[in-house]
Amino acid sequence: MMNDSENMVADADATDEVRDFQQGDGQTADVTTDNKSGKSGKSEHDDFKRTGRMMLYVRRFCRRPSAVVGLIVLLILIFFAAFGARFSQWSYDEPDFAALAAPPSSEHWLGTTVGGSDLYAMIVRGLGRSLTIGILSSICITIIAALVGTAVAFFEGWFEHVGMWLLDMLLVVPSFLLIALIVGMAKGGSDWIWLAIGLTAFGWIGYARTLRTLTLSLRDREYVRAAKFMGVPSFTIIVRHLVPNLGSVLVINTVLGVIGAVNSETSLSFLGLGIKAPDTSLGTLLNAGQSVVQTSPWVLVFPSVMLIILTFSVQLIGDGLRDAIDPYSRSGGKAE
């Protein structure tokens, strides 16, 4: 979350810079004087308050009911994952041998698995794992992809050729297989860290390619050239000028990337290659539920519902953000 807001602020700064630069350039004398009088007028009348960029985004976001619902649902899920374990007397790693595969009851709210573990406690734990892995790897993926994608586009010439060839090469073998290779070996306990590392290590490549394409139009802008000729170090240009200008794309894709990461995590854990007992995740629960689909369907149904709510709420937030940030969006109202 911290990362996101930083990006947004940086984005606003950079765009202001562009505006200043263009004003300094002064296409016509009229425009420049107009701007100047506008500025001085503003300082004289302090009661006139300009809508800030963040405020604008927040208002546009709130205008979409579905986005607000998504955000509320996600916050509830995070709260549930963080504190849900306190409401139940059972712990996820403490089976109740008196109630094996018991249906939902007042004792075990969502029933128990074949091994006697309380499903409520396991879902709370698994949801926390899925959320942690999803958010962590999505943020890391965005950071790596943003740096690599812009760098490949910024250093033109042979560097770009070699970089693109390498990116294409890394995409040849389906990343799902490579992640499975790495994570399948991790032993219980630390496997969720390996899963996050694996998802990050092979998840950024396609995204970096997309960002490189977007950077192509940025690298010839005046402010980038000016910085280059002023002798600003390349890395500083990338971090200060190129990455912030992709800010909106990065924010949206970080949010939507959580869905992809959660889906991959679920798939791998479902195949028995991700998180393994004694730890648990929603995918692991699906795996456990698969074999008892006829006898105790609740082991399957509750984690599935939880996953659908999780991914769908994130999707709603992502859609809302896209419309809030995209200046050409027509889906909201007309007023700012």
């Binding site: 040849v172 490579l178 790495i182 889906n263 679920t266 689909v293 996953l307 659908i308």
Partner: protein
């Protein structure tokens, strides 16, 4: 054109070689076939463990570069992809499973393209009307559901349906179970097995083709040449069909070509849910058994699929879009 294609193929072969070699080293670093034997009770003698590992060329006491050399030599000279830890050859195991995966993937891909593109066109023409909004919401909903959840939910519904009508209308495991000689019953049995996995694999494909085709068509529908066609007096439907739809199908064709690889990995989950003994199932087995050669061979097959898709995409776009200069 021919020169362009040959150049691309050459580039792709080098890419494939580097990528598969990288996978080999990665698999050798992360997989530990020795643990298969060490966990056995009683533990076999060290010499015999080493012998079986050496036979399969996966002994971690041999330097990895030497193992890699042997492995490469086997493939180049004899097209031998090596042995599993249980000494069974990898090549035939994969070849026998390709057919099952192919049956599943082909039907699902074709259906997904047909449904997805038609719904995409239907909704694009009715942009922001209620049909568009409803179908879009449904599509977004299905888009985010994890493949495993989708598969298992379909299984759950099918089992309950079977129980409800009191007979087995759908089978949820395998591709065949009929043993007799009656061809009609055989086909019926095959369809009863195939329908559920096909549904599970068709839905995500349909949804993504729907959303992309909608975007592509909307992009071209407001283009100048469509307005010109309308100004000439062409009815809206014909203008869209002849001018907008044609151009918008180019990126879809490219997507379809690229999806060859994606569908293959999507099948991993579906095959595991429905216990279909295809490549995806084989891949999970190789990982579980620390089968380095098997896992690398599957990855290589996946790589070939990706690059075939990329090549087809290159050819499609060059063929369909005259603006792309080939040189």
């Amino acid at each position: 054109m021919l020169k362009y294609i040959i150049k691309r193929i050459g580039n792709y072969i080098i890419m494939l070689f580097v990528a598969v070699s990288m996978t080999y080293f990665l698999a050798s670093a992360f997989m530990d076939p020795r643990s298969n034997y060490m966990s056995r009770n009683p533990r076999p003698p060290m010499a015999s463990i080493n012998r079986s590992l050496d036979m399969a060329n996966i002994n971690d006491q041999t330097p990895v570069i030497i193992r890699y050399g042997r492995w490469l030599k086997g493939i180049v000279t004899r097209w031998d992809w090596g042995l599993s830890p249980d000494q069974s050859p990898v090549g035939p195991a994969i070849a026998s499973r390709i057919a099952a995966s192919l049956q599943l993937v082909t039907l699902a891909t074709i259906l997904a393209i047909i449904f997805g593109v038609s719904i995409g066109v239907y909704t694009a023409i009715r942009q922001y009307k209620w049909q568009d909004r409803v179908l879009n919401s449904i599509a977004t909903f299905f888009l985010v559901i994890p493949a495993a959840v989708m598969g298992l939910m379909v299984v759950l519904i099918a089992i309950n349906f079977n129980n409800l009508i009191g007979t087995r209308a759908f089978y949820v495991t395998g591709l065949h179970s009929y043993q007799g000689n009656n061809p009609v019953l055989w086909v019926l049995d095959y369809l009863q097995h195939l329908i559920l996995p096909t549904i599970v694999m068709t839905i995500p494909g349909t949804v993504s083709y729907h959303l992309t085709q909608r975007t592509y068509l909307l992009d071209t529908m407001n283009a100048d040449y469509v307005r010109t066609a309308r100004a000439k007096g062409l009815p809206l439907n014909i203008a869209i069909r002849r001018h907008a739809l044609r151009t918008s199908l180019i990126p879809t064709a490219v997507d379809v070509a690229f999806s060859i690889a994606g569908v293959f990995t999507g099948a991993v989950i579906t095959e595991n849910v429905f216990a279909i003994n295809g490549l995806g199932m084989y891949f999970t087995q190789t990982i579980a058994q620390n089968d380095i050669n098997g896992a690398v061979a599957v990855a290589a097959f996946g790589g070939v699929c990706t690059l075939t898709g990329a090549l087809l995409a290159d050819i499609f776009s060059a063929w369909l879009d005259p603006r792309i200069r080939l040189s």
